[in-house]
Symmetry: C2
DNA sequence: GCTTGATATGTAACCGGTTACACATTAAGA
DNA sequence: TCTTAATGTGTAACCGGTTACATATCAAGC
């Protein structure tokens, strides 16, 4: 790899001049600029980012902290983040924490010592590591961290409500629900919205994490203890897939006997049989927004912390009866 | 953030001594060591990786180049890679290329200028960017790049064969197949193995990419043009899910009338109705192996390029008839 | 007592960029 | 013509580590 010194020599100028043409800063004569550009091309030079980082204390790296990329909600988010970051010349460092405080801590110091410019956090921290003391630009994504930290979330309350209303409007009268992990506020909102709109129609409810296995268990529990019901809202699409599978196993016809609505709008919903009706969050959009916001923060364009609440929408596939309205 | 100078001052020694105790190199007296350790603790110091990188020309970063993390095969791989990397003090930089040469090029120079220590490539490069001229340790994962570059792959040929044999052993006599993208050699092997073992029982075949939408189209085509058949092997689980959905839509009972086998063993297979029988690749294991191999390469433990071929196995869920054997 | 090697530690160069500062030249304005 | 500001360029300090090298002390061996 060529260095700036070699370029300078080749172009017959000093390193300062080379740096100036690269950064378009200060005064450079037309002649010098051309000579430098020629030398750069000839040597196929690209500046060493580590060296630049050291002086500038900025690495063009952003840290992405998530519970587990293996959870199908996250890849799309990661993709959006990476796309936007990349368009702006940033790279992203992937960190899976499994929501374990210790892993999170380890990553946090690693990211800090490598001088990442900012953080996107999609992990909860009810257990409160010292994000605040980190003094790094950061934005929370699909998570509410605390006032003073930017957040991008979707309107879970409205989503839950929309699910209940849809079920009811489609003729369901006995509603059931499988809630998500209690410690995730954004997920809890979905349950709250659903319960509000379901009112006395709610006949049963269980709880589950977002792993399919546990969702299956929770589904069985729901059927065992609360059957019959004719509409289910699951806190996310993975849980909904479990409900669907369990319904099939019990020879319950979907959507004729039982309508099911999920939440998230991940690709999985297309792949179930029948395809899943769901409340879609604008996942990619959320990732995009969060990243753009982070880059603004990094470039100090705005320091007023904001919470961005995005609308959700109903995607009717085939686990609900489409009613003419 | 504290610097080594501050630590040195606090401990009343020179920066060289501090560096020595941190790296356990050279001679350090017991007294000095203790003083330095105390100072490090007091100042909550951790060394600046950027500075270290600059001198050592090594960043403890590895680049992970994949087509699209959104494709459900990759998150598990990414997870394995990140786990192993992290255990060894490395972080991973995520790069989605969509198999576009241009994005790949851009990433390659970005990764190089930031002095990543190595690369894991899960992307094909029939279009041949200059990996060879990169002069970086790298290992190909689930891809065959070329001789001289390490590769970790699973035995697609045996997998395809196993699928055909299973279908046949379960009583199927008219087999069909949906192949994957032609340019992926590892995927082509599956088709070859299947065709070899299916022999004259093969009655129809179409082709598809790994996106669900196109897989659905390919499935419809298969049913439209080659029905009836009683066993299908899909080149991966996403395609198998599409076949399943299309079968349900056409009121074809699985597995009674039609048996389906997928390939990969991703979580999606658990979530379909009925759950998918599939040929599982040891995905996590492959990621783990590839990363360990890369770290060995980085630490120059071994320079003899190897190709590691991992065995696959049949996971019987409910889209095949389990036969007493 | 003198030589020698092991132990211990500090100084300064180095990694490859960026930029403050000094200095020179040129053009514009009075 | 003289002053002044704009333009152009190089030198060297700096970012925060690592390490080669110089130097010093001390104990062992003769």
């Amino acid at each position: 790899m060529a260095t700036i010194k070699q370029v300078a020599k080749q172009a017959n100028v000093s390193v300062a001049t080379v740096s100036r043409v690269m950064n378009k800063s200060g005064y450079v004569s037309e002649d010098a600029r051309e000579a430098v550009e020629r030398a750069i091309a000839e040597l196929n030079y690209s500046p060493n980012r580590v060296a630049r980082s050291l002086y500038k204390k900025s690495s063009n790296l952003i840290g992405l902290i998530m519970p587990d990329i293996t959870n199908p909600f996250f890849p799309q988010l990661a993709r959006a983040i990476e796309d936007v970051a990349n368009q702006h010349g940033y790279q992203v460092v992937l960190c899976n924490t499994d929501e374990q405080l210790e892993k999170e801590q380890t990553y946090l110091v690693a990211l800090q010592t490598m001088h990442v410019d900012g953080l996107i956090i999609t992990t909860n921290h009810s257990h409160n590591p010292n994000y605040e003391t980190l003094n790094l630009p950061m934005v929370a994504l699909d998570r509410i961290v605390k006032a003073g930290i930017d957040a991008v979330i979707s309107d879970g309350y409205e989503g839950g409500k929309l699910a209940a209303e849809t079920l009811l409007a489609n003729g369901a009268t006995r509603l059931a629900h499988i809630a998500g992990p209690e410690h995730l506020k954004t997920v809890k909102r979905r349950t709250e919205g659903f319960m509000e709109a379901a009112g006395e129609h709610l006949v049963g409810m269980t709880q589950s994490t977002f792993t399919f296995k546990e969702a299956l268990t929770a589904s069985q529990e729901l059927f065992d203890h609360h059957w019959p019901f004719d509409g289910v809202f699951a806190a996310n699409d993975v849980i909904a897939a479990a409900v669907l599978q369990e319904a099939v196993r019990r020879n319950i016809r979907v959507p004729e006997e039982l309508q099911v609505i999920g939440y998230d709008g991940i690709e999985l919903g297309e792949m179930t049989s029948p395809p899943l009706t769901t409340i879609v969050q604008p996942i990619y959009e959320m990732g995009r927004l969060a990243t753009e916001r982070l880059l603004d923060l990094i470039e100090k364009k705005d320091t007023q912390a904001k919470e961005m609440l995005l609308p959700v929408s109903l995607l009717e596939r085939q686990t609900t009866k489409r009613k003419e309205r």
